[in-house]
Amino acid sequence: MAKKITILIVDDEESVRDSLNNWFLEDGYQVECAENAKKALQLIESTHYDIILADIKMPGMDGLEMLRRIKALKKEAIVIVMTAFATVDTAVMALKDGAYDYVTKPFDPDDLSHLIRNATKQITLSQENEILKIKVGSLENIEDLIGNSEAMRKVLKQVESVAQSNSSVIITGESGTGKELIARAIHSNSSRKYYPLVSVHCGALSESLLESELFGHEKGAFTGAIYNRKGRFEMADSGTIFLDEIATISSKMQIELLRVLETKSFVRVGGNKEISSDFRVICATNRDLKSMVEQGIFREDLYYRLNVVNITVPPLRDRIEDISLLVDYFIKKYCTTMNKQMITIDEAALRRMEAHPFPGNIRELENMIERAIVIGNGKKITLKDLPFGKDMIDNSIESLDDFEKTFIRQILNKYSWNISRTAKALKVDRVTLYNKIRKYDLKPDE
């Protein structure tokens, strides 16, 4: 049941207090009365009232002075002032001092109902706003990005420092590393956080669709354009636009995008009116944009416009120490959403996961945990719940040499090609490892 709206009536005339009290009780409000400003202020100090309805002309402290004191005590208080002697001056003064509204006694029953209904709506909106602010604040806290590894800590530090600026950001990283999550964290920690974060998956749309999606269109611009439609740049006004898979956009779109980024204005498809929008751009890609520029596939001027700050999200195999944290996180997430009892993972299963290269990165790990919770016994995730059976063996491996090559490469990548650490992990000496690297022609960029 919704909380009752509380109203405090402040008037020196008993008949007015009684009438209002009666009227509001019949409307289902919770009402209290005070016969003077002094008593009202005492009540307000100790109790919260949603609406305060106060007479201006009262013996002792008048309603306007009381209004100022209430506002000093509680800035957000909704105070409606009433008077039987209406003058424009007092009305203006009351509104300047923060009164929500000003009414002249006696008023029509409908006016009173409207007044309270509007004030109630204002209260509900303020409350919703507060709740949403808290929700938005807690939605993508930097602390919520899972990772304690050196590599991830570096990323989080970058997110934190870049969030407050207005610079364009390119987030690079393999598929499934959480690039969109990083974009959300940047937005949620920026001054634009109360405005929208608009995501566009450029790779999923054809050139013409992407154009209409980004810039919007006017009615009749093309077959099927039966309404005027705002584009994503327009929707992102005061907020952030996140362009995922930016490397996939055509050269025509690259030119148009560059123009929008330079002028922060554009024209809807089929329209002729210039529309301005204040947005911040964050892009993401799993491709090497720099080499695309060198190959002439991606415009250099656009690259430099976008690449003010570059954040590289490390693949999961480069932050093995984060796997246990991520496993815990996804176990909690899926046990909660599936309404299952919290479970754990056994040591052998976790070790096996840490040895897995995770080509699909966090997305792959998440799916693995979700599957394990669905098919598992509901107590503990064990090796048999994980998809590391024979179907996981790489089909291209047909010899012992192939297997050795793949395995050494995996461990080398795991230790970022640190020869000493890799040799130690493989329990061979450094010379043997160098020989194997030479034999299999292994290279760091493979």
């Binding site: 008949s15 009227w23 008023f107 029953p109």
Partner: protein, 178 residues
């Protein structure tokens, strides 16, 4: 059911069939026997010369002070223009969860709005107003269901739009206090 009843007191002249119809509707809605009485009071002491209206708060108190043996709730019917200090007019009022209410037919008649008289329409409106005020005495507050008689009415058109009975929710609330 107890032997208590609901008393309708007419102050001033009301046609007998009017009062009987109101009584029947009240009995049907609240399932209490209805006792219809006539009374006379000097209305001049309730008249406010500045507003040229009658003080609803004082009239309600007067009705509340009348002691009628066996009467659970009392509603006073008037034919004068009622006001309360903060409002320009009222159709009626009651003590929430109390014993008494008042209603006036003054602003319920078409003639008050420069339209031809319609006795049936006025009776329908008065029945709704009486049931509404009695509803308050049984603890019912204003209801948002468009058809419910407990919906708040600022204008006579609002009264015409709503029904003359309690909605399911108000009825169950009424049942709960019995």
């Amino acid at each position: 059911m107890t032997s208590q009843n609901i008393t309708i007191i007419s102050f001033g002249y009301f046609e007998k069939h009017f009062l009987e119809k109101i009584g029947e509707a009240v009995k049907q809605e609240f399932n209490y026997p209805v006792n219809i009485k006539e009374s006379h009071i000097d209305l001049s002491e309730f008249f406010d010369p500045a507003r040229r209206q009658y003080n609803g708060n004082k009239l309600l108190k007067t009705v509340d002070d009348i002691s009628i043996p066996g009467s659970l709730k009392t509603i006073g019917l008037f034919s004068v223009d009622l006001f309360i200090p903060i409002l320009t007019y009222i159709f009626g009022q009651a003590y929430l969860n109390g014993r008494s209410g008042i209603a006036s037919r003054y602003r319920l008649s078409n003639e008050s709005y420069g339209m031809p008289a319609d006795e049936d329409l006025m009776l329908t409106r008065l029945i709704k107003e009486v049931v509404h005020e009695l509803g308050h005495t049984f603890g019912l507050i204003h209801c948002h269901v468009p058809d419910c008689v407990m919906r708040s009415s600022a204008y006579v058109e609002d009264i015409d739009q709503k029904g003359h009975s309690l909605c399911i929710r108000c009825r169950s609330e009424f049942g709960a206090v019995q």
